[in-house]
C-alpha cells in the first residue's frame, strides 16, 4: 500500500518534535539550583522513559485481559510487544537514572526508592519473558503469561507508592541525603520541556508498538497461508 501522506507527515512531525525536545532539554531549559553543571538535564529523558515504561505495561495489561477473554493470538502478540517495549524503556530509564546518580552523587547506584521501583519492574517483565520461554504450547503460553502479567500489575501500585515510603523508614540516613538534592524546584519552563519530552517519547512508543503489531499480523497471515 503506498504510504498515505498523513503517515509520512506524522513521522516527520515526530522526528521534528523529538529533535526540538532534545535541543530544548540540552540548551534552552534554565539550569536548576543545587546541581553540578547541566547534568540535571538528563532528567528530561530519565523521567519520561520511566513513565512510558509504565504506559507500556498498561498496554500489556489491557492486551492480556483481552487475550484471556477472546484467546485471539493477535492479542497475545500485542501483549508481548508492549511488554518488550516496556522492558526497553525501563532499561533505558535505569541507565539514564544511574548516569544521573553517577554525575550527581559520584556512584552509579544509591538505592534511591524510585530507582529500586524501576528495577523491580524490570525484574518482573524479565520474569514475564522467562515464563514465555518455559512454555511450549502457544495457547497455554499466552494464558499463563497473561495471568502473570495481570497478577504482577496489581502489585505495581504497591511498588511505586508503598515501597518508597516504607523503604525510607528502613535506612533513613542514606535516603534523606539523596532526597535532599533530587527535589529541585520545577519552574514552568522545565515542566513544559518535561511534558513535551513525555509526549515525544509516548509518540515514539506508539510508533514502535504499531510496527511490532504489524510484524505480528504478517507472521500470523503467513502462518495462516501455510496451514490452509
Amino acid at each position: 500500500m503506498t504510504e498515505k501522506t498523513w503517515q509520512k507527515g506524522l513521522k516527520w512531525l515526530l522526528g521534528v518534535w523529538l529533535t526540538g525536545v532534545t535541543a530544548a532539554a540540552l540548551l534552552w531549559a534554565p539550569p536548576a539550583a543545587g546541581f553540578q553543571g547541566d547534568s540535571f538535564r538528563i532528567v528530561f529523558f530519565h523521567v519520561p522513559q520511566a513513565w512510558v515504561a509504565v504506559l507500556a505495561f498498561c498496554v500489556n495489561l489491557v492486551a492480556s485481559l483481552r487475550y484471556l477473554r477472546g484467546r485471539r493470538p493477535l492479542d497475545d502478540a500485542r501483549a508481548t510487544a508492549a511488554a518488550r517495549l516496556g522492558l526497553l524503556f525501563a532499561i533505558l530509564a535505569t541507565i539514564t537514572g544511574s548516569i544521573f546518580a553517577k554525575i550527581e552523587w559520584g556512584m552509579f547506584w544509591n538505592w534511591d526508592p524510585r530507582e529500586t521501583s524501576i528495577v523491580i519492574l524490570l525484574l518482573i517483565y524479565a520474569a514475564y519473558f522467562a515464563l514465555r520461554q518455559a512454555v511450549a504450547d502457544e495457547e497455554r503460553r499466552g494464558a499463563l503469561a497473561a495471568a502473570y502479567a495481570i497478577f504482577a500489575f496489581v502489585t505495581m501500585p504497591f511498588l511505586i507508592f508503598v515501597v518508597p515510603r516504607v523503604y525510607a523508614s528502613l535506612h533513613p540516613n542514606l535516603v534523606e541525603a539523596a532526597r535532599g538534592t533530587v527535589r529541585f524546584k520545577m519552574d514552568p519552563h522545565m515542566r513544559m520541556v518535561l511534558l513535551a519530552a513525555l509526549v515525544g517519547f509516548s509518540g515514539l512508543f506508539t510508533w514502535l508498538y504499531t510496527l511490532e503489531v504489524r510484524v505480528a499480523r504478517l507472521v500470523a497471515a503467513r502462518r495462516a497461508q501455510e496451514e490452509a
Binding site: 484471556l68 520474569a127 515464563l131 518455559a134 504497591f158 511498588l159 508503598v162 516504607v166
Partner: protein
C-alpha cells in the same frame, strides 16, 4: 448431579495434601533442612556479636526474612508441581472446582509456612541474639506476612507447574512480586523489635494486609485461567 460445597472440597484437598506430605515429607524436608542449615551457617558466621549495634535491628530483620524466603522457594512450589509431574492433575481437574484447588493448596502452603516460622523464628532469635521488644507485634507481622507470602507463592507455583515446573523459574517469577512484601515485613519485624507497643508495627501491617488482600482477590479471579487450559 449435586455438588459438594466449596468448603468441603477445599478441606478434602487440604486433607489430601497433609496426608501425602506427612507420608512422603518431600516439601517438609526441603524447607526444614534448607532453613536450619542456612540459619546455622549464618549464625556461625555472624553470631550475636558480629554486627554493629545500630545496624542490628534492620540487618537481623532482613536476614530472617531472606532465610524464610529462600526456604519457602525450596518447598512451596511442590504443591502444584507434583500434580503435573505425577499426572494426577487431570483427575483433580475433573473432580474438583478450580477455587477449591486454590483454597486447599493455599491453606496447605500457609500451614507449611507458619510451621516453618514457628520453628525458625525462635531459633533465629536465640542463635542471633535478636532481642524482640514486642513479641505480640512480631507474631502479627509473621502471621500476616506469612499469609500474604503464601498467596503469591501458591499462585506463582500454579503457573510454573504448567510451564517447566523448575524451582529456578519459581524463584525468578516469585522474587520480583514478593519484593514489595519483603520490604513491608522487614520494616514490620524491625518495628516489632524496636519498640514495646503494638502500634509500632501498624504501618507495615497495613501495607502487608492490603498487599495480601489485593493479591488474593486477583489470584481468585485468575486461578481458573491458570488451572484449566
Amino acid at each position: 448431579m449435586q455438588r459438594s460445597s466449596l468448603l468441603a472440597e477445599s478441606l478434602a484437598i487440604l486433607g489430601k495434601e497433609v496426608a501425602s506430605e506427612l507420608r512422603r515429607r518431600v516439601a517438609l524436608n526441603a524447607i526444614g533442612l534448607f532453613a536450619v542449615t542456612t540459619l546455622v551457617a549464618v549464625a556461625y558466621q555472624i553470631g550475636p556479636y558480629g554486627l554493629a549495634e545500630q545496624d542490628r535491628p534492620f540487618l537481623l530483620s532482613a536476614l530472617l526474612w531472606i532465610i524464610l524466603f529462600f526456604a519457602a522457594t525450596a518447598g512451596l512450589a511442590r504443591v502444584f508441581v507434583k500434580e503435573e509431574d505425577a499426572h494426577t492433575a487431570k483427575a483433580l481437574r475433573l473432580a474438583a472446582r478450580p477455587l477449591a484447588v486454590l483454597y486447599g493448596k493455599l491453606l496447605f502452603n500457609l500451614v507449611l509456612l507458619l510451621a516453618l516460622e514457628v520453628i525458625i523464628v525462635p531459633l533465629y532469635c536465640a542463635l542471633m541474639g535478636f532481642a524482640v521488644r514486642s513479641v505480640a507485634g512480631l507474631i502479627l507481622v509473621m502471621a500476616a506476612g506469612g499469609a500474604a507470602f503464601a498467596v503469591t507463592s501458591t499462585f506463582v507455583a500454579a503457573i510454573i507447574a504448567r510451564a517447566s515446573g523448575s524451582n529456578a523459574l519459581f524463584a525468578i517469577l516469585a522474587l520480583p512480586l514478593l519484593l514489595p512484601l519483603l520490604v513491608a515485613v522487614i520494616a514490620g519485624t524491625r518495628a516489632a523489635a524496636g519498640s514495646m507497643e503494638l502500634a509500632a508495627v501498624l504501618p507495615a501491617l497495613r501495607a502487608i494486609v492490603s498487599l495480601g488482600g489485593v493479591t488474593m482477590v486477583t489470584a481468585v479471579f485468575l486461578f481458573p485461567v491458570v488451572w484449566r487450559d
